[in-house]
Amino acid sequence: MTNLFIVYLAAVIVPAFFFSWRVAVLGLGIQGLMLSFVLLAGHEIDSPAVVIEFLCLLLIRAVFVPWYLLRKCDTRYAQRSFALVGTTLWQRSVVVLLTAAGFAMGLAMGKGDMRESMQIGTAASSLLIGMLMVANDRQPAAQLVGLFTFEGGVTLVELLSPHAMSFPIQMGVTAIDVFFVLTLGQYLARFPQITPTDGAAEQEGI
């Protein structure tokens, strides 16, 4: 289990130090894969809700999200000075500091349970680094990666509880995941429009 969290954390942190859209998207795919393995390791696959959650993580987070983002985004636009958390040494140091803060929180909340401390620490780091990506970079494509990283952290916290959701609720959560990805995809196609300001006249809608 510990190895899964280490790989997950690497998939969050490493893309922050690369200036590559493809590495960032690959990181999201690995995060999705690790999340599905964490689910397998921590839960019995004994109810339709768990099966749905596993399939959602594996097929949507690990496969569909990277494929969809690469397909939707104009690569030339995304590659233009792409950086998830900025380029200065200070900005990169913040990533390390946030990881340390996340694990400090994990140790405090885990109360001696190593697995739980590790899971909380990884989740908290993912939430904090995701927020940093959303807040720190003015490039919308990097913010989008930040939102997925943040969502990954939320899912890790979800997996803390060994109890599965009821089937209708799990279906709802899965539907939201899919809808979330599709909605962000719509924005991805519009990011080139909002980078420059052309001051075009607009119509007053309804």
């Binding site: 909340m109 939102l147 943040f150 109890h163 709802g172 909605t183 309804i206």
Partner: protein, 483 residues
């Protein structure tokens, strides 16, 4: 089961428009108004026939009909009916924007998710429905508009995802606290089962859970420090969409907050009071600063909405003394914001500008919209006889009763600053001298029909509230303080 017709009407309307694309152009308007009218009628029947104090569970207890859900269902149904009349009027008066009917379909889905969220008895279920509503409405902010609107919509989506993300983390912390490290205890998210519990397990976890939940929903409500999305989204969105955000979604999220705070307060009565008061006070101060500097009337009202959210948070933090005032204030504000944002649409359509400086003598040039805007502004500022006045007075007096005199003084100062700044900006716009060549506009009655509806309800709430409505408000207020 009748209450679920409120949801079925917009869902059937949206499905009909999706299935019959040929009808979309001609049928979008009547379908929207009809769906909203049926929802309103059903909500009113449900509210009128519900015995005081009764709680009815629907569909395997996933949904509940109690005082809180009935009150909020009625408010959002009234607001949505007004929006539907406004949209119908706008679509009739001008050549439609490309794919306007898709906006109508999305609006119907959005209202359906709001109504379902209001009726939901399951915390994660409610979260799912509110998140679905957010994803449905976010593209409507920029639909058919320029880069600024896309930027505002993206900002709205980012803050919403983070806010709801924190809220879900909070709910999962609650589950972890309840279930124990190894799943030793049962975990539930059904509200009635949660209220029946004698303990929520590990206190560290559920205290963390409440902090995260309040921070998350505070973001969605536009409370400081996470309010930056609100002025941009409210300003850039079309008026009907702004009203959906400010009066429909705001109230649904507030209901979610009421449910969560009410639940956890039944285990620890003073929990998060200080945090709510701090967030609310900060929001009121920040909005005052922005209102003083505002040069755009729609943006000014958006800043006033931050102040309203702050007042609600402070009232909620005060506990049971202010609870009735909070509920009355929330109901009134849904209507006030609807009047103002929809009237802003009429004004922008005529003048082609949202700048305060370019408008003078509104009440003479556009008498109907001018009067609606004037009454809306009075209600916004908390003048008598509107319900917001009474709500604000109750919240302020609860501070004195509870001994929060510094907070009382601070709020009085800030409310005065807001009043003077808003009045200084908006009163010349309403009553100032018109330009010589400016002629009176003949406005069709339908363009302000929705505002008239809202004003009537608002005045009724402030001047004469029938006993069944008062007892409904009291029942809701009682739930804010736990069991």
């Amino acid at each position: 089961m009748l209450a679920l017709l409120c949801v079925a009407a917009p869902v059937l309307g949206a499905l009909a428009l999706l299935i019959a694309p040929g009808l979309r152009e001609t049928a979008a308007k009547p379908v929207l108004v009809l769906s909203a009218a049926v929802s309103l009628l059903v909500a009113l029947i449900v509210a009128a026939t519900r015995p005081t104090g009764s709680v009815t569970y629907l569909l395997w207890r996933y949904f509940v009909l109690d005082a809180t859900s009935v009150l909020f269902l009625t408010i959002i149904a009234i607001v949505f009916f007004g929006i539907s009349i406004y949209v119908r009027q706008k679509l009739s008066r001008r050549s439609a924007l490309p794919r306007d009917e898709f906006v109508v379909v999305r609006a119907l889905w959005f209202f359906a998710t709001c109504a379902l969220a209001v009726l939901c008895n399951h915390l994660v279920g409610m979260w799912v429905l509110l998140e679905a509503g957010t994803l449905l409405i976010a593209p409507l902010i920029y639909f058919g508009r320029g880069p600024e609107a896309i930027r505002a919509s993206w900002k709205y989506l980012k803050f919403s995802v983070i806010g709801f993300g924190f809220n879900l983390v909070g709910l999962m912390c609650l589950a972890r606290g309840m279930g124990g490290a190894h799943g030793d205890h049962t975990v539930t998210f059904f509200l009635d089962e949660l209220y029946a519990l004698t303990t929520l397990g590990d206190k560290t976890w559920w205290e963390l859970s409440l902090a995260l939940m309040v921070f998350g929903l505070g973001t969605k409500l536009g409370l400081a420090p996470m309010y930056a999305w609100l002025p941009d989204a409210y300003d850039e969105a079309p008026p009907a969409v702004t009203t959906m955000l400010a009066a429909l979604q705001f109230n649904c999220v507030l209901l979610f907050l009421f449910r969560q705070v009410g639940l956890l307060r039944s285990f620890a009565p003073d929990l998060v009071s200080a945090e709510l008061i701090a967030m609310g006070g900060m929001s009121i101060a920040i909005s005052g600063f922005h209102i003083v500097r505002a040069s755009n009337y729609k943006r000014l009202i958006a800043y006033a909405s931050i102040s309203h959210a702050g007042t609600v948070a402070v009232g909620l933090g005060m506990g049971k003394n202010a609870a009735y005032g909070v509920v009355l204030y929330v109901v009134s504000n849904a209507l006030v914001k609807s009047i103002l944002f929809l009237t802003c649409g009429n004004i922008k359509d005529h003048y082609g500008s949202k700048q305060i400086a370019s408008l003078r003598g509104l009440i003479r040039v556009m008498p109907f919209s001018g009067w609606a805007f004037m009454l809306g502004t009075f209600a916004l500022l908390g003048f008598a006889p509107f319900g917001s006045f009474l709500g604000e007075i109750i919240i302020l007096s609860s501070m004195v009763e509870s001994g929060y005199l510094v907070l009382f003084l601070f709020l009085c100062v800030m409310l005065t600053v807001n009043l003077v700044a808003t009045g200084r900006a908006l009163f010349p716009m309403i009553w100032g001298d018109t330009q010589e060549n400016e002629e009176k506009v003949i406005e069709p009655i339908w363009s302000i029909a929705s505002s008239i509806l809202y004003i009537l309800v608002l005045v009724a709430l402030g001047m004469y509230t029938p006993e069944p409505v008062t007892s409904l408000l009291r029942e809701v207020a009682a739930t804010l303080d736990g069991k």
